[in-house]
């Protein structure tokens, strides 16, 4: 690391806002949806639009709403007129990447207080269509994301000998956690493990109840510097580390079960945050799990379990809300998936945990939490680690 790195400005989260995620928000335009989340984040921070120096916005492909470069149209709704506005797009990891790009504006001291927001209004179009256009140069992503990821789940099961019941445990846990989160999309009050296991097989071995829903929703955060955090009336979450890593979609050496980019990204975040033993030192994890089996897979990829052992943590209840490493206390992507916002929701929920503001799904005494997102063909990763105390270095 170069010398200048040690003089980075501290970054704090002082405001968080989400919409109630639902299948279709027919009562608001895209502009209305994003403004709702931004307004809530400002209220949380006790700030006004005038306090914001720059806006960084992210979402997944423009085809998901049929709107090209929507930041142009959304400038007014987000109070960005006369301000810098950046639009990030890194596939499914975009919500996390967007927050990290915004954090860099503060860390570099280019701006003091930044609004960052990610959204998806899936009801405006059809995500399956958006991912399956016939194009001249590459094959379309056939049968949506589930078709792409199912073989890698099967490979994980073969490699580790995990019993085929593990996926349904994750789905059952996350859907129960979602009942405690007022913003979560799916509130299945009558959920049982048997119902998950009896749901139709979509892409073997992935069942209907082990997949994420299609949601409309937005998530916003206010990031600020040390001075801004000192003025914050509510407890801030402090950023201790953040990183992005990418690897090619397709090449002979790619491990789709545990991509190297995910391992490297986590290692970089832990190094920045001074984490030696993530399993012991991290109190809560908001992990990007669009298909239930990705919980045990990412537990290994992120260094919480040895290779082949992730499913054992899940099976033994360690990742339950009252376990000693709660994963997705919010209900996760399995319960709420406005695609472009899903990564930022992970980052924001991690921040809520260390601020002690997660409400009914609060992990007791959470001091350090990890937010995680991935995208593309499991090739783009973004993560941050936030703490209740400012970083010491």
């Amino acid at each position: 690391m170069s010398k200048a790195a040690t003089s980075k400005e501290c970054v704090a989260v002082v405001g968080i806002g989400q919409t109630k995620h639902v299948a279709a928000r027919r009562d608001v335009s895209i502009a209305g949806l994003v403004r709702e989340a931004a307004r809530r984040a400002l209220d949380d921070a006790h700030l006004t639009w005038a306090d914001i120096d720059a806006v960084v916005i992210g979402k997944a492909p423009d085809f998901f709403e049929g709107l090209m470069m929507p930041e142009l149209y959304l400038a007014d709704a987000l109070g960005a007129v006369g301000k810098p506005m950046l639009r990030v797009h890194t596939a499914g990891s975009v919500g996390g990447s967007t927050a990290l790009v915004a954090s860099n504006l503060v860390a570099s001291r280019v701006h003091g207080t930044v609004l960052t927001l990610a959204f998806e209004k899936q009801s405006e179009s059809n995500a399956m269509w958006g991912l399956s256009l016939p194009i001249p140069f590459q094959q379309p992503l056939l049968a949506g994301a589930g078709g792409f990821f199912a073989p890698h789940v099967r490979a994980y099961m073969r490699r580790t000998g995990a019993p085929d019941t593990v996926g349904s445990l994750v789905a059952y846990k996350d859907r129960r956690n979602a009942l405690k989160n007022p913003y979560a999309h799916l509130h299945e009050h009558d959920i049982t493990l048997e119902k998950v296991q009896a749901s139709p097989m979509l892409w073997d071995p992935i069942r209907y109840s082990e997949t994420c829903p299609s949601s409309d929703g937005a998530c916003a955060m206010i990031l600020t510097d040390r001075a801004g955090a000192a003025r914050s009336p509510r407890p801030p979450a402090w950023m201790h580390g953040g990183a992005m890593r990418s690897e090619p979609t397709m090449f002979a050496g790619k491990d789709f079960v545990s991509p190297q980019a995910g391992k490297d990204c986590a290692a970089d975040v832990y190094r920045q945050a001074g984490i030696a033993d993530p399993r012991r030192e991290i109190d809560a994890v908001e992990m990007y799990v669009p298909f239930s089996w990705y919980e045990p897979m990412w537990l290994e990829n992120l260094g919480f379990a040895a290779e082949g052992e992730g499913w054992k943590l899940t099976e033994s209840g360690v990742t339950e809300l009252d376990g000693d490493l709660p994963v997705n206390p919010s209900g996760g992507v399995l319960s709420t998936n406005p695609i472009g916002a899903s990564g930022m929701i992970r980052f924001a929920e991690a921040a809520l945990q260390v601020r002690g503001l997660a409400g009914e799904h609060q992990v007791e005494g959470a001091r350090k939490a990890l937010g995680h997102a991935y995208g593309g063909g499991a090739q783009f990763f973004s993560m941050w680690l936030v703490g209740a105390e400012p970083p010491t270095t």
Binding site: Y73, I135, Q260
Partner: protein
């Protein structure tokens, strides 16, 4: 403002801009410019601290189009990397900020756009307010014509003045081997009054790449680095009805924050796809006749959408690298009628 570190553009490469490149995929279009900037600096992909790109799915006609371009970068072992769904000028901004944090000392920035597979005038209508404006399909030339007419009505230009801008640009482009439209080009018929064919940019495919480096690293990699003395970008309201189209307040704000008005520049590379937009930008930036404007020919000579802004930064830097400029302004735009604008001030070491 005072930045934490000195950062410079140390290498720039661009493809020829061509009307059609049916035989090339986007990856194949990007690869040569990536190799070119790496060769210029002697760096390998594994030496680069951060990579950032700019492009648009709507031009490519498919979702996640940038993922394939990344395969061409050779992102193995995995790299710190990001992407903006914007012109590559904004990717350069993101990379510059990343270097300012101290987390990287070098950055590779690239951008590409193929307009040929679709009708770019139609495609750009999808940028507009989706509920009230986009359903009417007002295209990019029609919107620019509104701006040109407003300028004429305000007495700031007339049709011969616009034609002179176009003529000067394409004459200058004669010296630019990558330009698409150069030399004596007739004004042609009206496309949308008052804009004639000659007032509008050619439609083309192209790619560009830049390498940034900080401090001493920049001096090692380049004989005369183009130091970024300031860079800022601003956006305006989307609705044309609430904007004075003869002015560009976002450009002025960005220029102020980039320090452009502190001392005169000798060169300006302006991203003005329409002749009338150069008039607006010159007025806003207070560029007098002593400033060499668009010696490359500018966007009227080659306008590969999503790369044209990055090319302005690259062309300005290249003039500094060659010792032809000491202080240059580079500008990029996005959105209808100059809605969003970026300004950078580049200097050679004096």
């Amino acid at each position: 403002m005072r930045y934490a570190r000195d950062v410079a553009i140390v290498a720039f490469a661009q493809t020829d801009t061509l009307r059609r490149t049916d035989e090339l995929s986007e990856v194949e279009m990007v690869m040569p410019v990536l190799h070119d900037v790496l060769r210029q600096t002697g760096l390998r992909t594994s030496d680069i601290g951060f990579t950032c790109s700019g492009s648009s799915d709507y031009l490519a006609g498919r979702a996640f189009s940038f993922t394939m371009a990344l395969d061409g970068v050779g992102a193995w072992p995995p790299i710190p990397e990001s992407h903006v769904e914007m012109d590559g000028a904004w990717a350069l901004y993101e990379a510059w900020v990343k270097i300012l944090t101290g987390e990287a000392d070098t950055a590779l920035v690239y951008a590409y756009g193929k307009s040929s597979p679709g009708e770019v005038r139609d495609v750009l209508t999808r940028q507009l307010d989706p509920y009230y404006v986009a359903p009417l399909w007002p295209d990019s030339v029609a919107l620019a014509a509104l701006q040109a007419q407003a300028l004429i009505d305000a007495g700031a230009a007339d049709e011969p003045a616009l034609a002179a801008v176009a003529d000067r640009s394409r004459t200058d482009a004669s010296d630019n081997p990558h330009a698409q439209l150069k030399g004596s080009v007739p004004s042609g018929d009206y496309i949308v009054r008052p804009l004639r064919t000659g007032d509008c940019p050619p439609i083309g495919d192209g790619a560009a790449a830049v390498i940034l480096a900080s401090g001493d690293r920049a001096r090692e990699l380049c004989e005369r680095p183009a130091w970024i003395r300031g860079m800022d970008h601003r956006i305006e309201a989307h609705s044309l009805g609430v904007r004075d189209l003869t002015d560009s307040p976002s450009t002025r704000l960005a220029a102020e924050h980039a320090g452009a008005f502190e001392r005169p520049v000798d060169t300006a590379e302006l991203h003005a796809p329409f002749s009338s937009q150069e008039v607006v930008l010159r007025r806003t930036l207070k560029l007098n006749d002593s400033v060499r404007v668009n010696p490359s020919g500018g966007a009227l000579a080659a306008n590969p959408v999503m790369a044209a802004g990055l090319i302005r930064l690259g062309e300005a830097a290249a003039r500094i690298h060659r010792g032809e400029s000491d202080r240059a302004l580079a500008h990029a735009t996005s959105g209808p009628c100059l809605q969003q604008n970026l300004v950078a001030v580049l200097e050679g070491e004096s």
